[in-house]
Structures are given as C-alpha cells and as structure tokens.
Amino acid sequence: MNRSGRGTTWRRIATGALGIVLLCAAWELYKLLGPADGVVVGGLTILPRTSDLAMPHLWTMAERVLEPVTGASNAVPMWEAVLQASLFTLGISAVGWLVGVSVGLALALLMQRFRLAEQAVLPWVILSQTVPLIAIAPLVRRWGAQIHFGEFTWENWMSVAMIASYLAFFPVSVGALRGLSSPDAAHVDLMRCYSVGWWKTLWRLRLPASVGYLLPALRLAAASAVIGAVVAEVSIGLRGGIGRLIVEYAGAAGGDPGKPWAPIFGSVLVGLVAAGFVGLIGLFLRRFRRGEVPA
C-alpha cells in the first residue's frame, strides 16, 4: 500500500512537470512556426504576433531575471527586486487570508447556529462578491485614512490586506457552512442522545466533519487573497508589492521585452507558496479526511 502510494506521488509530480514542459514547448513552437503578424481572423487577432517584442524567448525571460533591474550602477539584480516584492505581497496576502478565514468561519458558525442568520446573511455574502474590486478599493482607502486611535494609524497596506480578505472570506464562509451542516442526521441524533450542547457538538462532530469541505475553501481563499492583494496594490497605488511591479515593468516592454515577465513569475510564485501552505495544513488534518464506508 505504501509503495503504490509513493508510486502515485511520483507519477503526479512527473505529470505536473510534464505539463509545464509542454506549455514551454508550445510557446517556443508557436514562436518558431507561427506567422509573424499573428493569426488574424476577420480583422481580429486571435493569436499574438511572434516577434521577439510580443513573445520573447523563454531564455530571454530567464536571462533578464538574472540581470540588474536598470542600467544604473547601483541597481539590484532583477530576481532580488522581484523576490522582495513577492515577499511583501505574500505578507499582505497572508494577513488578508487570516482575516478573511476568521471572518468566513465566524459567519459560517453564525449561519449554522441560527437559521434566521443564514437566511439574512447568505444573500449578502453572495452579493458581496459581485461588487468589482476596482470600485471598493478607493472607498476602503478613504475610510481607512480616517481611522486614528491614539498611536494607531491606518496604513495603505492595511487597505490592501482588507481587500484581499474581502475576496478570501467568501469561499470560506460558503464552504464552512456546507461542511458544518454535513454530518449525518444519525450523528446529530447521537450527540443529542449524549445530551451534549452545541459547542461540544461543534468541536467533536461539526468541525471535524467540515474539514473535507474546508480545505478546498481555504485553498481557494489563498488564491483569492493573492489576487486581491495584487489588484488592490495597483488600484490603491501601494508601492513595494508585486502588483505595482507588474504595472511599472509593463511600461518597459517596448525596449526590454523580458522585463514584464519577471514580476508575473513572481506573482505565480506567491500563489504557489500560498497554495502549498494550505496543502501543508491539509497534511496535518488528514486524519479527518477518511471517507466513511456506509454500513
């Protein structure tokens, strides 16, 4: 059983790597064989031009990452700048994720406990996700700027984290609500027979039963938090993060086609680290993910 388990793990890693290799090959192959002006159907470009400007070689991108950011003598290497920005964004995303997960769980508990709360809150939870981020970012920033308690002043990065959490709480609240309501009627009856209260039932039955629903929700929340942070950095105009870098370097695309790709890879890295962290949580909770064979 162990051996086959390890075998499938290796196969999964190999399949994943193969996917990346195929993507790279497709990129280079199209660049090599595709028409110089791209594929145009009825005046609409459906595949890009294959010039070095529009589609730089993979190795151009890789080389560019190792070179300094600018021609200035004190410029740091590109990878260092991108890594720094990635860490900055990762930190903000993590704060947003934590806040979002806490709020999402709290809402799910409230909705599970009180039916009325479910009817009152759930539509708003769903509606909240239809508001475009671009619209709320300036609002959050303006409201935040008015917050002062003593030593504490609201900073722009907090607005970004706030918006990241705004995206992150949604999957958690919906997933956790489903998970908390997932125990069989027989299990709930059993807890009633043992005459234990709501909190004990929550701790011994509902929370463990919700793990299977919660983990995908947490992963989705992590991805949403990263996207939220990147987009919010841009719309709030916060410096230091990967979102800002993406906008900044995009301007250099004309003369330096490899440059805009570096922060894009950076943001992919942030997303991977976030997803990997949730995977780690899942590893610790794997006892709660055993499927029950119905009797």
Binding site: Y194, E292, V293, A295
Partner: protein
Amino acid sequence: MRSQSTESESSATDAAALRATDAAGPRATDAAADDAVKNATSSGATDGHRAVDVQGVSRVFSGRKGASVTALDDVSLTVAPGEFVSLIGPSGCGKSTLLRLIADLDEPTAGQIQVFGKTARQARIDQAYGIAFQQAGLLPWRTVSGNIDLPLELHRVNKAARKARAAELLELVGLSDFAAHYPDQLSGGMQQRVAIARSLAESPSLLLMDEPFGALDEMTRERMQNELVRICGETGAAVVFVTHSIPEAVFLADRVVVMSPRPGRIRDILSVKLGDTGERGENLREEESFFHAVSQVRELLHGESPNSESPNSESPNGVRGVETR
C-alpha cells in the same frame, strides 16, 4: 518484624473468610452472588420501575398546507427491566417514530412516556439508555476504540477508565484486534458491532435499537443476532428493537409488538419467549416453536382486521395497544 506481623494478620483474616465460605457452602454463595449481580444490572437502578412506560402516545406530523400525518395513534406499551421487546410492522407504521419518542429525539403530540420512572427527557439527560441506528454512524476520523469511548469522553470519564472500558467492550463484541483500525477499514458487520459496543459504553439498563442489522447480509445478520442475544444475556439490559424482519423479531425477543400503518397503531403483542436469553442458540432457528411463532407474527402482520383471531395471541379480543399479560 513489622511487615511479618501484618502479613500474619492478613492471612488470619483470609482464613476466617475462607471458613465462613466453607460454612455456607461455596456453591450457595456463588449462586447468591450471581443473583445479586443480576439484580444490580437488570433492575437495581430501576427501583421497581418499568424500563419503558408508554401511555396513550400519539405523534402527528403536520405537513405543508395543513395536511398532517398521524404517525402514531394512541399507543401504549410497557417494557419490563431486562426484557427484550421487538417492534415490527410495515413501513410507515411508526415503529421508528416510537423508538425516537422513547429516546427523546422527538416529542409526542399527546400521551406520556416514562423511562425508568423518569420523563423521557430526563432519562436522556441521565444517559439511561444506549442507542444504535441502522447506519453504524461511526465517526470516520476516530479509531474503533476512539468511537467506542466517545460517549465516555463527552461525559468526562478519565482516560484510564475509558481505555479499560473500551478494551472490555471490544472483547465483548470480539473486535479486540481492531482497536486501532479506522471505520473505513472494517466491514459493515464489524462497524455495526462497534456501534453496539458504543451503545453499551455507559452500561445502560436500556438499549434502543433501530434496525441495527437492516443493512447487513443474511449470514452476517444471523451471526449478529446470536451475538446480540449473548450480549444481552451478559449485560441484563432491557432492549427495544425495531425491525422489519419477522424471524429476527421472533428469534431475539421475549415479546413481539406487531404494528399496523396509517395511522400507526399496535395491532397485537405476541409473547414468544422461546428460551432464556443466553440459552438461545443457532439451533433454535430449526425448532418447531420458532416456525410457529414466525407464522403467527406473519398472520398478524398480514391480517386485514386488527381483530383477526390468532389462536395464541395475547389479546384475542383485539383490544388495540392493550397488554393482557
């Protein structure tokens, strides 16, 4: 010196105890002790109360648009301590509803239910009964022994006592080798045995079972029935057992309660008592009396009129829901 003297003292008392036993005769004392144990387990906690006392209970489920379904209509039933009672009837006769009412998982629309002289609610709070459902309902993230000691853990029994009790119960249901397994590693029959062990965890004087073997294949089912008879003999608990298998009801029970649907009523109560609990074995299934009881129950179930004349039935007048025992 000192230790020697205490040792001789203790051996002297032992000798005295032995003499006393001799005087009374070892066999007599053993039998007396056995009786004492039996009383303690089967009725000691009950103080002469009936295990279950259902009086004129009705349960009406109100549906949408004012349509209501009468699941139970004026049902009365008593179960003596240590007695095994089967509830049998077609779907919709309210047998599971009756069990849920006794367990206080639901409340009657009318009538009264007492369990060991207490209200059903108080009995539930006092953990007067153990319960098992058709689905084993084990928590998949707990091991077999973890599932068995769940009620003990919830009621703050200390760890050593929990461990000892779980080991004892695993022994009782013959799963000692599977203590560390998870439910998904067990067959359906084994899962159900774990569920039964769990229902016995707090040594209840009453077991409520809702078709616990309903999802098992026939072979496993018969083996589980044999085991249940043995377990009940060892624990001395009263049992209310819901089933829709006639042989199962007859084999297990002291009395079979035959119910009829729409509205759910008790059609008749048949005393079978084919042998003392613990003495009933595999060969009982081959005996004439067994087949006789099975056909009696079958006639009662299929009889259109509740007044159908069944020769050995306890209520030849067909007074519904009334025991004439």
